[in-house]
């Protein structure tokens, strides 16, 4: 079991939340705090969730991601994600999270999309 970590950084066209560890019930404060930091500066149009260093997501973690998505949509922000393993991509498809969160392979791909959108 590895605690959830989150690093926030601003990029052209959006903000990136680099997640690490486990996305489960213990990640609630980390995830919501990271989202608040991400949108506090620069009013980003898009928030990127980078799951490259996440090893485990459970049903409670899915609920937390839905909460972040709901918050972002209420603020008219887009959420995209990158770095998901094939297994978690399948879970995003089954839960239909991927209907609302565009998925990219890696962070560079996701960020370059932001730059294109911003340009």
């Amino acid at each position: 079991m590895t605690g959830c970590g989150a690093v926030v950084r601003q990029v052209a066209g959006g903000a990136v939340i680099v997640l690490s560890g486990d996305i489960d019930g213990s990640a609630a404060d980390v995830l919501s705090g990271a989202y608040q930091r991400a949108v506090a500066d620069g009013d980003p149009a898009t928030v990127v969730l980078d799951f490259s260093s996440v090893g485990y997501i459970n049903s409670t973690g899915i609920a937390l991601i839905v909460s972040v998505l709901a918050m972002a949509r209420s603020q008219r922000r887009k959420v995209v994600a990158c770095g998901l393993s094939d297994h978690y991509r399948e879970i995003f498809d089954i839960t239909r999270l991927s209907d609302f969160i565009e998925l990219f392979g890696g962070l560079d791909e996701a960020v370059s999309q932001l730059v294109q959108t911003a340009g």
């Binding site: 079991m1 019930g25 485990y56 459970n58 049903s59 409670t60 899915i62 609920a63 937390l64 839905v66 909460s67 998505l69 709901a70 949509r73 393993s85 094939d86 297994h87 399948e90 879970i91 089954i94 839960t95 239909r96 999270l97 209907d99 609302f100």
Partner: protein, 165 residues
């Protein structure tokens, strides 16, 4: 991997864990160790691991109500057709849909995003989509959820939504 004769079942693991939050990860690890090299693809191994962790979490939180003195019992079997993981808790007195752990409502992300349904409630949904079959039995105080992941092509090609669920 040793091929089993028709009808032969082999017990791969049998253990208990205390009902403490987070112990579903311990269950996941021990089951994964037990079923390594028994013919599941990486994809189906990941799917079964998710189903096992969610089932164990339900057993700990809802079946045994996080009472650490109540163990969750796990049995892992293989036969020529499938891996079967049975998770037993003390929730036999629960109302219908005990395996759901209070999640009788089919999760709908549209409703969740509209604030009309709790963001939670994905556990049983994931379990049902991750394995080939799920069944629940209750004997007195005991409640058991059995997860079945078929070996070979059926399980590899299935989307986990079959078996009449």
């Amino acid at each position: 991997m040793t091929r089993l004769a028709d009808g032969e079942t082999r017990r791969l693991a049998e253990f208990t864990v205390p009902s403490e939050p987070g112990n579903e990860r311990l269950v996941l690890t021990r089951v994964a160790d037990a079923i390594a090299d028994h013919g599941l693809s990486e994809r189906n191994l990941d799917r079964l691991k998710t189903a096992v962790a969610e089932t164990a979490m339900n057993a700990i939180e809802h079946g045994n109500r996080n009472r650490s003195e109540l163990p969750v019992r796990v049995e892992v079997d293989v036969d020529g057709q499938a891996i079967v993981v049975a998770v037993t808790d003390h929730g036999g007195d629960r109302a219908g849909g005990a395996g759901a752990g209070g999640e009788p409502v089919e999760p709908d992300i549209d409703l969740k995003l509209a604030g009309e349904q709790s963001t939670r409630g994905w556990g049983l949904f994931l379990i049902r989509h991750m394995v080939d079959a799920v069944d629940e039995t209750t004997h007195g105080a005991w409640h058991t959820v059995r997860l079945v992941m078929r070996l070979g092509t059926a399980g590899e090609q299935g989307d986990g939504e079959g078996d009449g669920r």
